[in-house]
């Protein structure tokens, strides 16, 4: 009994001391000005990407002996939820690296620090790709810069170069008609091989968007009246073709397919083509060899003859408003966008550097899919369409429409009805956003 009482007293004392000691410890580290520890949340952690940051942080800490970076890896699927909870509870890290699409939400939640003050006096700003910086700035209703871009991305058509050659087929990237012809010709259900691996599960609608605008030739998400172009007959015609492929040139199991199973289907020899962003390329080449993997931007629109590329959104490094070490955090963020770090990270991942010096690295010239993007961007007729990632509802609408797209694939909902519903939500979100800006200005 006495032992239990003693244990209880000891535990209570420990708790009291623990509670009392926490603010003391926090104030000591923040007030000393000697050694600063910043926390960095990597929003796409995993065996492929964590080692890249480990190497970069090691180098950063060597160059900046007064700053220690505490790396916290978060799986991609969970990061938005975790950051939102952190903002709501005031327990944010110092730095995180979300996608541009999610940055708008965090700005809306008033959890992100504007970087303009730092950016104006930063010597490295002349090296940043101006279009990327402009695109990130456009996300904020107040036009301020809330994130420093470090990587660009677009949708790519990956295909089995060897199979296309064996069947004497035209390159699927040459035209949309060649793409559909190849998908049909390369399908052999008896061998569990399908012409196309469709993403029907999580992420399906985001990917479908890139396809719709590339094939239809539509060059804007909204018309002059602020109405979504998704219910345009050209867009509807594209989705009808996509849906017609399901179960014929694709596996029926594709209805649930997410990113990783889709890539596995391609790499496992069950799909001749898939659509995904640049990030898949290194993994595909490693799994299959560069002689087998073909990669190109999506074909030109047969309707308008234009090459339309939907910007998949940059990845950005942002500093949280609640950070107590903003200067150190800024130092780390600028390091990640420096020529060395930006080149190293993007080379490992296979994406486009946003630092113009890094973009001239030798590896970029040898990266086949990036070269197809660069070539298209040099063509004056190419149109780059920027999705409305500034809309807080943009990503939630995509998620909301995913089960409806599955119903379309199952024949339970018609394509026009699906597109009308989707367009209606986008138009409403755009109107609400514009009203909110007016309200703020007033």
């Amino acid at each position: 009994m006495r032992l239990l009482r003693s244990l209880g007293i000891a535990l209570a004392a420990l708790l009291v001391v623990g509670f009392a000691a926490t603010p003391i410890a926090a104030s000591a580290s923040s007030g000393s000005g000697q050694k600063v520890t910043i926390t960095f949340w990597d929003t796409n952690a995993g065996p492929d990407r964590t080692p890249i940051y480990t190497a970069l942080i090691k180098r950063f800490e060597k160059e900046n002996p007064g700053i220690t970076v505490n790396y916290v890896g978060i799986p991609e699927a969970d990061y938005e939820q975790k950051i939102e909870a952190a903002i709501a509870s005031g327990a944010t890290p110092d730095v995180a690296n979300p996608g541009q699409g999610q940055l708008a939400d965090f700005i809306g939640e008033e959890g992100v620090q504007s970087l303009d003050g730092y950016y104006k006096s930063w010597s490295g700003r002349s090296q940043m790709d101006p279009s990327s910086v402009k695109s990130v700035r456009a996300e904020a209703p107040d036009g301020k810069l809330y994130g420093l871009p470090y990587s660009g991305n677009v949708d790519i058509l990956f295909y089995r170069k060897d199979w296309v050659a064996q069947h004497s087929l035209p390159s699927p990237s040459s035209s949309w008609s060649a793409f559909y012809k190849d998908a049909s010709a390369l399908t052999d259900p008896s061998k569990n091989v399908y012409g196309f691996g469709l993403r029907g599960g999580s992420g399906s609608v985001a990917q479908l968007e890139g396809w719709i605008y590339a094939e239809s030739g539509l060059t804007s998400y909204f018309n002059a009246k602020g109405q979504s172009t998704l219910s345009n007959p050209k867009a509807i015609a594209v989705v009808k073709k996509v849906v017609a492929m399901y179960g014929k040139d694709t596996s029926k199991g594709d209805i649930n397919q997410t990113y990783q199973p889709m890539v596995a289907e391609f790499e496992g020899g069950h799909a001749a083509m898939i659509q995904h962003n640049l990030g898949s390329y290194p993994q595909d080449v490693q799994a299959m060899g560069s002689s087998e993997v073909g990669a190109s931007i999506l074909p030109k629109s047969a309707v308008t003859g234009k090459q339309v590329i939907v910007n998949s959104g940059d990845l950005v490094d942002m500093i949280f408003k609640a950070s107590k070490h903003k200067a150190a955090a800024w130092k780390f963020v600028t390091f990640l966008s420096s020529p060395y770090a930006d080149s190293y990270w993007n080379q490992e991942v296979g994406q486009i550097p946003t630092n113009t010096v890094a973009a001239k690295s030798a590896w970029v010239a040898k990266n086949q899919p990036i070269q197809t993007v660069e070539k298209a961007l040099k063509d004056p007729t190419t149109v780059v369409v920027n999705p409305p990632v500034y809309l807080p509802d943009y990503a939630p609408i995509q998620l909301q429409m995913e089960p409806v797209f599955q119903k379309v694939l199952l024949g339970q909902v018609t394509v026009p009805s699906f597109m009308d519903q989707w367009a209606g939500l986008m138009t409403k979100a755009q109107q609400q956003y514009k009203q909110s800006i007016k309200h703020k200005k007033a």
């Binding site: 596996s251 029926k252 594709d254 997410t258 807080p392 089960p403 339970q412 909110s436």
Partner: protein
């Protein structure tokens, strides 16, 4: 006053003083001991519950602060009159709970009866039967998704090698199969819960009752119906109620295995709530859905306990 009397008097007054001190201490010490637990309950249980009730009356989306406002019962009105997905997800939840609880109970009862009998390697058999209970939902999903894989999964291999199927069976993509496939995976994990609980209750039934029944010429079935089942009643009621509540709130297996798909065919009410609150950021509407789910479970528990006469004499 005799010398010996003084210490005795002192001892007596000390005892009286000690008793008074104990009495004085007695009124606040229990409260002080309970205070930490009460504080934790208030902070971590009562506050979140009350905040869910409060948010259910708001239109609250942290990404669109310009639209946040008090809407009274507006969210509930929308749920009950304009939300077909609520009705669909509630129906799927009910199907899910009924299938899981009934099947888990029947199989768990069968296993408990087998494991209660005497046979060689009974200890090993018990360990094997109980082992799925130790597996996490995500691990269950990983294992069953591999078995359901249409390209070389266990079921695909068996069906093809026995000639029962020529083309791959899309267990998780076929609208007619996906619900059953998910139910089977969860069933595998849930059966041991009933088996453990019912086995413990079976072992508490006195052997003399069965001996008396045998003497009276009762068959095994009659002994089960007349002795085992009535004496297991409270254990069965408690186990089925707990399991029904857990299965109603189950998220892990369905979220990781089907993500509610395809086409919302496996979207239960908790998954729908998670989508509304976490993915679409509609925390006000998600809170209102949570309140509705809570009230449904509360009513179910009260009616079920009343009808089953839980805790009453047989």
């Amino acid at each position: 006053m005799p010398a010996v009397g003084r210490p005795a008097l002192m001892a007596g007054s000390e005892r009286a003083g000690g008793a008074r001190r104990r009495r004085r201490r007695a009124w606040w010490v229990p409260y002080a001991c309970l205070a930490p637990a009460a504080a934790l309950l208030l902070i971590f249980v009562l506050y979140p519950v009350l905040s869910v009730f409060w948010y259910s009356l708001q239109s609250y989306n942290p990404t669109k602060p310009y639209l946040n406002a008090f809407v009274g019962l507006g969210n509930f009105q929308q749920i009950l009159t304009q939300d077909p997905l609520f009705r669909q997800s509630l129906w799927i939840s009910v199907k899910w709970v009924v299938c899981e609880v009934v099947l888990q109970f029947c199989l768990g009862m069968g296993l408990a009866l087998i494991l209660n009998s005497t046979f060689r390697l009974r200890g090993l058999a018990r360990a094997v039967v109980f082992s799925p209970w130790a597996v996490s939902g995500v691990a269950v999903t990983a294992m069953w998704t591999l078995m359901y894989n249409p390209f070389g999964g266990m079921f695909d291999t068996i069906l093809k090698s026995t000639g029962l199927a020529r083309t791959p069976v899309q267990w998780l993509a076929d609208t007619h199969l996906v619900f059953g496939a998910a139910v089977t995976a969860e069933l595998w994990r849930g059966v041991p819960f009933f088996a453990i609980l019912l086995l413990a209750a079976l072992q508490a039934i006195p052997e003399e009752l069965y001996e008396a029944a045998r003497v009276d010429g009762a068959s095994r079935v009659r002994a089960f119906v007349r002795i085992t089942f009535p004496l297991l009643r409270d254990a069965i009621v408690l186990a089925t109620l707990l399991r029904a509540v857990w299965e109603f709130n189950n998220v892990d297996v369905l979220y990781t295995m089907t993500d509610g798909g395809p086409a919302n065919l496996t979207t239960t009410l908790p998954l729908y709530i998670a989508n509304q609150a976490i993915q679409y950021h509609n925390f006000g509407y998600g809170s209102a859905l949570t309140v509705v789910g809570f009230l449904i479970l509360l009513c179910f528990a009260i009616v079920y306990l009343r009808l089953s006469r839980f805790g009453q004499e047989i």
